[in-house]
Symmetry: D2
Subunit: 379 residues, 4 copies
């Protein structure tokens, strides 16, 4: 039997769209015990929200998210609104005993993130943060390869998240796509947006980070708002850092929106004694693997086409050789969440995982300011 | 205003799933004047079809496709059943004045295909054949590049469709996945299944074919049915042919299910005086382009990441750097069909286009038997 | 002890340069029992030949190759002159009991090639044809992988040799670089120049060919000589053929100089039951290998960087990760020849091997004319 | 007319071999006014040095390099011996008025490097340091592209030099290949060996560095000597650093010998407002280029096959599509040196350039120790 799980979602932007799509599709591809019901969506603009609800099949619309939190017919609050709203919504939802799902980054600072984590844990309800890239089949496969012990002792971890969409000084500050340049709304720059993804993946694949040394940069400080008034950019355009992991390995991380020609180069390479892995989101259907145990004359980097039924999540989709794309990472994540709900198990990454990521981000930014190594705060 | 377009679909296999998904999603991503309504689905097994209908939201279920054709509340008959059923269903549907959509290959021989084409044309209703790969954004971009005149006079066209899933003699004949090995059901082997895709793309990008010389092969003649009884394979495991195009260029085509390590290598390369293009479905988000007009010292094959809003279909999906996958080709195709319906225009590829592909397939098979060059039959 | 081996070379063109380089360098990188001595070089233009000899250290110069053949102080006649001269020189050299080395293609037709092979075999002296690409370390590694039984039963062989340097109608006929367009001098077009390389590699890796079906093309028939007078091109610009191998596998071969953007794409792919290999001369330091025996979830095409001391020839060069280039294939070939001389063993490919290649080329051209399958002549 | 240039070389190891090869070949491929004469080679082991001299054609052998410096028949002292010998030899050679060529790194510390630079500059003779990778045609092409203004304002520079040959604890300390692990001989670890290459290239392509922050690591501290006695590794196995360039761009650099599967991954990427470049020594015949001025829908990373006559150095070698390899970088460098000698011009990189690299290396190591940003010392 399939139970209904009633969703109340806050936000109708890019992520609201990706989540709505996931709710609509998960039961067509995964046999899970719960079926999401698109109960209500909240966002400020009534007209836009109604159009959004019609398109995606949300049953009702609210202009105040508090109505969702208070609604007795809603089980789950899903937070897709800008970063600076996460804390208030999550706190209220947790207090009301809702299951809370939250987009990343968890909050705009570590203090908020810690409070939110405590609140959802106190509520005793399942919680999850949408670091969707863990559900790229190739990244899940990387985790599996590591857990199988195929890499041995790890020496190096190297990650990048390279984009190029803010190079033009004409890119405005504010508006749907570009609140990411506003300190008040985004909290942090690429560190919270892009580095956070790299860090979440790294913590998952390579464990905790002992200390970091950061370098940030703002290449274009003076931009304009959509209405033509001047706007000062005060958050990081670039976030680069060195890291030392608790397992003894070294790490390098670089995130930027000024890498001409790189559109979504979320990459990592991990080098171990016995093998190595490489991934790049621009070719998200591939995982590269080097196996030092292969015969000497036949060693080489394998390009694994991660589309087979033997690969994570792929048996639920099409047939070998048929790729899935960006949006499927959200559906895969949702399926995992629904399975965890059924088994009453922790789903990863949850608020506690995201809190650790937040503490690394905060340490990186503090390190860049202080120009010294910083140990991420204990949680 | 959005008008309802009531669909009756025959078949609940792999393609039934891909089409259902397209019907459910097209209006969430494309602003079109019609909204498909999943009215009825027909297939032989009542239980399976009911489960299928529940999963995808089909309103009712029939075990006889004729009920769909006769139903006054159905506008469109969509044929997703095995190849040997296409002719009968399409003829009946056309006669009843339905819009007919048909999976490829159009029929199991040219005679059938010709009759079907005449029937749908006589009905005066829009018709389409689901050669979905035309709607891979990178292939649509290839078409655009050619239409922009960037390649100049064409010298060569080279296509492959390489898979490896029938290498094991244990792969059975018959059953959901493997009716493709049965002559009675599939009509032809890889020629109709894989070569047909290559030919459709080639005709679209490079125009008509003057003559062909084919070579086919059956590597494993003796297999078993699912119940363990012997089964003789009588259709092509391999279909390779040389071609001469009407524009004076030469072509090579190779399709097989015995290319170990190739999962879905549907590739083409087209070489012109001024430039060249290369595509491979295993990296379907990329198009490679060589431009001879670049400065001499900077010429090279460009890997275009076909994920930008300036690329075909992509503005309807996510953001630059976010890939779409296999299933989206069906949604893109459906969107094009709905737009054509709105404008009352021909949509491509239609039955007439598929008939031309069928005539090339038939010429190739005849050539392989006769061991001489064959001109595809005039249509 | 190192013995002197006195060389007389005919031709001072591109190949004369590559061979001179090989003679000068082989003893610095290989410990072999013979040391080539650059005794004499012959070519028509005295001035140019003298300049060539000074540059490369040839002891003396002749304008008539017959002087080399007659010279008692010369052990080896190395034929690097245009194709139409090979037969006469080789016959004379063999008659005089010289060791004969010959550039490819062996001759301008099969009759010549057969006579030459008989002559050198009758002389009882070692002979070799410079199909240098066998000595690309990655191709030698491919041979090793096949001989180790890693591919299993072979289903497919697919080869290309794609270049783009004759696309412009302004490329003249005649002169040092472009005698390849002259029937009188070259004998055949790309079939003898490029396909011959593909065929030699294929025969080595995949065994003999049972029958072929060819298609040739001349895209630009009217060109000019260097002096501006009209010249008609009468030899193939393109040579494409289907093949069936004696081991039951299918083959496709395509050679052209009209593939815009391809500079030296001498590629092959071989698909077997247990594994596959892919090579492309434009990345000559790499061999790609797919191993079906890898664990299911880790299967993928490996890019083997063929630069390790465990790879063919590479222990003689630099260190892992340091690539060698085009010219080294000649040095490797020469080293193999000198080792064979020491052991008094056959060196491959010799005239007999090249004769088989010639018989395939001739069958392809005959097939293209006759428009039917042709069996290469028995040797 | 060609003038003789008499060479005295110190060292017969890997670099002695590479240089000997360059001296022997340069005049066969480049028309330059000087011809190197292999006058004398010095190294400690008499037997080995004599064998080396025979192989490469050195006229005489010395066991004490001072004999070369004192010899009136020697014009050039070429230093290929281990790092800890560079200073003494260069100082003596400069004092005697010899032309001095030196392998990289210039010295084992900045003080030595500064004295050496002053000495060779005082002598007024041409001097050069063999940072051979500047002469990889693809890297020279990168320099040309930058000088043509095709990248615009630079935002990022990112370099790696990844190898994997010291991962095994069984790799000994000392001996021909492994003096690189000995502090007394090598001075520094990967910083001087690998990072120095990255830095030289970066300074050439992207200008001076304002400050650096370094992180070093020794993964295996306890190894054995060749005789089995314990040896402590005291120099960096890994050298990673952040950099800020004077042009305002950010840099990341990572060098290691613990990156499993990477054999010689000397890579850089440079991102500018208008374009980007990427290079990797493991594919040294390629340069990747992204041009933001291409039409929007056709933008992509181009893989330039750097083998055409329009590319740096390549007109001196073979034909388009024929690659050259590692050793040719030394021959190209030597040709540049000989041309500079003819024109009496400065050749780059010279001791002064190498001094700047040394000052960056020293700043990185000091920074790693002090855990703070360090500005490289003014020169």
């Amino acid at each position: 039997m399939v139970n209904q799980l009633k969703i109340g979602m806050v936000g109708t932007g890019f992520m609201g769209r990706a989540h709505s799509n996931a709710y609509r599709r998960v039961n067509q591809f995964f046999n899970v015990a719960y079926e999401p019901v698109l109960k209500a969506v909240a966002a400020r603009s009534k007209d836009k929200t109604e159009a959004f609800a019609r398109r995606w099949g949300w049953e009702r619309v609210e202009s105040d998210w508090k109505k969702l939190v208070d609604a007795p017919d809603i089980d789950v609050i899903d937070i897709c609104s800008p970063n600076n709203t996460h804390h208030e919504i999550a706190m209220a939802a947790a207090q009301k005993g809702k299951i809370v799902l939250c987009e990343k980054p968890l909050a705009i600072n570590l203090t908020q993130a810690r409070e939110m984590t405590q609140a959802v844990e106190k509520s005793g309800k399942l919680n999850m943060v949408w670091f969707n890239y863990r559900r790229v089949p190739a990244i899940s496969l990387a985790k599996q390869v590591i857990d199988e012990g195929r890499l041995g002792k790890i020496f190096h971890y190297r990650a990048t998240y390279l984009q190029d969409w803010t190079i033009s000084p004409k890119v405005p500050v504010g508006g749907a796509a570009t609140w990411r340049l506003e300190k008040e709304v985004a909290g942090a720059g690429v560190s919270g947006d892009l580095s956070a993804h790299n860090i979440d993946t790294a913590l998952w694949l390579n464990g905790s980070i002992s200390r970091v040394f950061g370098m940030t940069e703002i290449f274009i400080r003076n931009r304009q708002r959509l209405d033509g008034t001047p706007a000062s950019v005060e958050i990081d355009d670039v976030c680069t850092f060195l890291a030392q992991f608790q397992n003894g390995s070294n790490g390098t991380f670089e995130a930027t929106r000024y890498a001409r020609g790189r559109k979504n180069k979320n990459s990592f390479e991990i080098n171990g004694e016995k093998g190595s892995l490489y991934f790049d989101l621009e070719n998200m259907h591939q995982l590269q693997y080097f196996n030092h145990d292969d015969p000497d004359h036949l060693q080489g980097w394998r390009t694994i086409l991660v589309t087979g039924s033997e690969h994570p999540y792929m048996a639920n989709w099409w047939v070998p050789g048929c790729v899935i794309g960006y949006e499927h990472t959200f559906i895969n994540a949702l399926a995992d969440f629904l399975k965890a709900l059924e088994k009453n198990e922790r789903v990863r990454p949850d608020f506690r995982d995201a809190l650790e990521t937040q503490s690394v981000v905060e340490a990186v930014l503090e390190s860049a300011r202080a120009e010294k190594w910083i140990k991420p705060e204990e949680l």
